[in-house]
């Protein structure tokens, strides 16, 4: 024990340690404040918070859990990307290989169940924010950022749904994207699209409408797989991360977690 303590004390006095942590041990109020202030990640938090605001019974920790699940998805998704090819030839067999060739492999499970869980926790987080009236002034804008995050979460999950390239994936996305056909003006079966024409040539058809743009083709095929992969792995996560940064920043700037005045 004494040896460990000595080692610990020694480490804390090295130039290396002090170059990373610019404060003493967090046993005084000042140093505890500095821990938060001098760390870019913890700095998302203020130094002090209202006690009721950090109670589980108040926040249910749902926003935090949602964020944590997002991080889990990033980490496991990154590992899955090493093995997965977004092509019609390989996508399905890559998934089967992950399932059958990796002993004790749980990355795909973690990624899939984490995604299901994230959808559920976003809803519950929204429910909590509603039930505590936390969308009321001054937090109206952050509620809106939240709504966008909700939509992005669903889209992340939707684009990921296609990637295993099995029957479930292909047909769920077919059903889902069929609705885009009916987009007013921009879908070839939507109202008003027949009005968009030059002379006799109609501008909107199955080969260039909203659904085509989403799928990169007239049906769910190679183009759709690639598009969904890119959106799933890069496009949507980047937007989501930016919006989360705004979301957390605004929680602070709007006066921290809400509480009674």
């Amino acid at each position: 024990m004494a040896v460990l303590k000595k080692l610990w004390d020694y480490t804390r006095n090295t130039q290396l340690w002090n170059s990373i942590f610019r404060h003493g041990p967090p046993d005084t109020a000042r140093n505890r404040g500095l821990v938060v202030l001098t760390n870019v990640f913890l700095h998302l938090h203020p130094v002090k918070v209202r006690r009721s605001g950090i109670r589980l019974r108040f926040t249910w920790c749902m926003g935090g859990i949602t964020f944590f699940l997002f991080l889990v998805e990033v980490a496991t998704g990154l590992l899955l990307m090493f093995y997965y090819h977004p092509t019609v030839e390989y996508a399905y067999v890559d998934i089967v290989d992950l399932r059958e060739q990796v002993p004790l492999g749980v990355m795909r499970e973690l990624h899939r169940w984490g995604a299901h869980a994230m959808v559920i926790t976003v809803w519950l987080h929204m429910l909590r924010v509603f039930m505590t009236g936390s969308y009321k002034p001054p937090r109206e804008f952050n509620w809106n950022v939240g709504v966008l995050l909700l939509v992005l979460t669903l889209l992340l999950s939707f684009t990921g749904y296609l990637l295993p390239w099995d029957q479930l994936a292909m047909w769920a996305v077919t059903v889902g994207s069929n609705m885009a056909r009916a987009t007013p003006l921009l879908g070839h079966e939507g109202p008003g699209s027949s009005l968009l024409k030059i002379g006799d040539i109609s501008l909107i058809n199955a080969g260039n409408d909203a659904r085509f743009a989403l799928l990169g083709g007239r049906f769910v095929g190679a183009g759709a797989l690639l598009r969904f992969y890119v959106l799933h792995c890069v496009g949507i996560p980047v937007v989501a991360i930016i919006l989360m940064a705004v979301h957390f920043w605004r929680v602070r700037k709007d006066g921290g977690i809400s509480g009674p005045v």
Binding site: L42, R51, W60, M131, T132, Q167
Partner: protein
């Protein structure tokens, strides 16, 4: 005995009955002892006790046991224990629990208020604040560890499914959207694709975004309460629980092959025959009631439906503003009031159309297919 029970559950879960039960349960549990004539209020008042932690706990335990017991039924287990459906079943319990919990906290605060004591949030923090390190950071850390363990255990116990390779030539029956979009897929049954798939989802997003700007009630900001914001809570929970979550439950567990309805203990028989006899309002009125042919002129043909829809969306809001919701109208002003009315009535049109379909087999109230105007 058990078979009879299963049969009656199957019978009760046919959509019109199940929806009526859900609606009744929703309002009775949200407002126990507060709605309806005196005898109903007296009858439902004891239900207030479900918001006591002990009673609530017992109710959830009983529901959980019933659920587990149901898993012994092969047909029930076949659908509910599909790996992808397990989290959805859990979602039902989680949503029920957290709605209950939020309402319970609200009622507790209301009782404290009534007794002129500080509410929980106030009592806990007083005026003081606590340090983020260690108080908050430790909670977060613990939460992350527990969730990591939970996810790993879940992943070990339940393998992620993979079906046959994608085959564009073979449509599975039923074909379903991802589970969180099943509410939208359900709406496709009652509305044309551009309404169900584009307009209404857009309005859901717009409506959610509009909430903070429409709700002008200054009370209930930053603490749980029920009494101070009953209508807001009722409207939000109606949309979230009765429409969104309920339709997901229907879409996931009760819609089988050919999009037919099946009870939870019923075998998903692909050959189940359900006669399709949907008729439009114009047919019901002109042909069935007045025994004449449908008029050629679309305006004349649809005159009844058009009147109804116009009355619903255009005449009802001003009428409400003048009479029953006068107080709201004055508080919110015309813009907020009419936006709220439009969004609210649009939301309410879904259960109305569902009921019309189930009871009268009504297809469209107004249908002018030439201009995609089918409601």
């Amino acid at each position: 005995m058990i078979e009879a029970l299963k049969h009656s559950v199957n019978w009760l879960s046919a959509p019109p009955r199940f929806f009526t039960i859900t609606l009744a349960a929703f309002f009775v549990l949200l407002f126990p002892g507060e709605l309806g004539p005196a005898w109903l209020r007296r009858l439902t008042r004891p239900l207030q006790t479900v918001y006591r932690p002990k009673v609530g706990g017992i109710v959830f335990a009983v529901l959980g046991v019933l659920f587990l017991a149901s898993c012994f039924d092969p047909n029930f287990a076949l659908i509910v224990l599909k790996p992808d459906n397990v989290p959805i079943a859990a979602m039902i319990f989680l949503v029920a629990f957290f709605v209950w919990f939020g309402l319970k906290e609200g009622r507790r605060n209301d009782a404290l208020r009534a007794a002129e004591q500080p509410i929980i949030e106030k009592r806990e923090s007083g005026d003081g604040k606590v340090m983020v390190w260690p108080d908050l950071v430790y909670t977060e850390f613990l939460c992350m560890i527990l969730w990591t363990i939970f996810l790993i255990v879940w992943s070990i116990c339940l393998k992620a499914p993979i079906e046959e390779p994608a085959n564009p030539a073979k449509t599975p029956n039923p074909s379903k959207a991802p589970w969180y979009f099943l509410g939208l897929q359900e709406m496709l049954v009652y509305y044309d694709p551009w309404i169900a798939g584009v307009l209404l989802p857009g309005l859901i997003i717009v409506g959610l975004c509009a909430i903070p700007y429409i709700d002008k009630n200054p009370k209930g900001n930053g603490y749980f309460t029920f009494k101070e914001r009953k209508p807001e809570i009722a409207i939000f929970l109606f949309g979230f629980v009765v429409l969104w979550v309920w339709l997901i439950i229907i879409g996931t567990f009760l819609r089988g092959p050919n999009q037919n309805f099946f009870g939870p203990f019923e075998y998903w028989d692909a050959h189940k025959l359900v006669p399709l006899i949907n008729v439009d309002l114009s047919q019901i009125i002109w042909v069935k009631w007045m025994h004449t042919a449908l008029p050629r002129n679309p305006i004349l043909r649809e005159i009844f439906g058009l009147t109804l829809v116009a009355a619903y969306f255009l005449a009802l809001p001003p009428l409400l503003a003048k009479r029953w919701l006068k107080g709201y109208y004055e508080k919110l002003g015309p813009t907020r009031f009419h936006i709220m009315m439009f969004l609210g009535l649009t939301m309410l049109s879904l259960p109305i159309k569902m009921m019309l379909r189930w009871t009268l087999n009504m297809h469209y109230v107004v249908t002018v297919p030439e201009i995609f105007f089918n409601i």
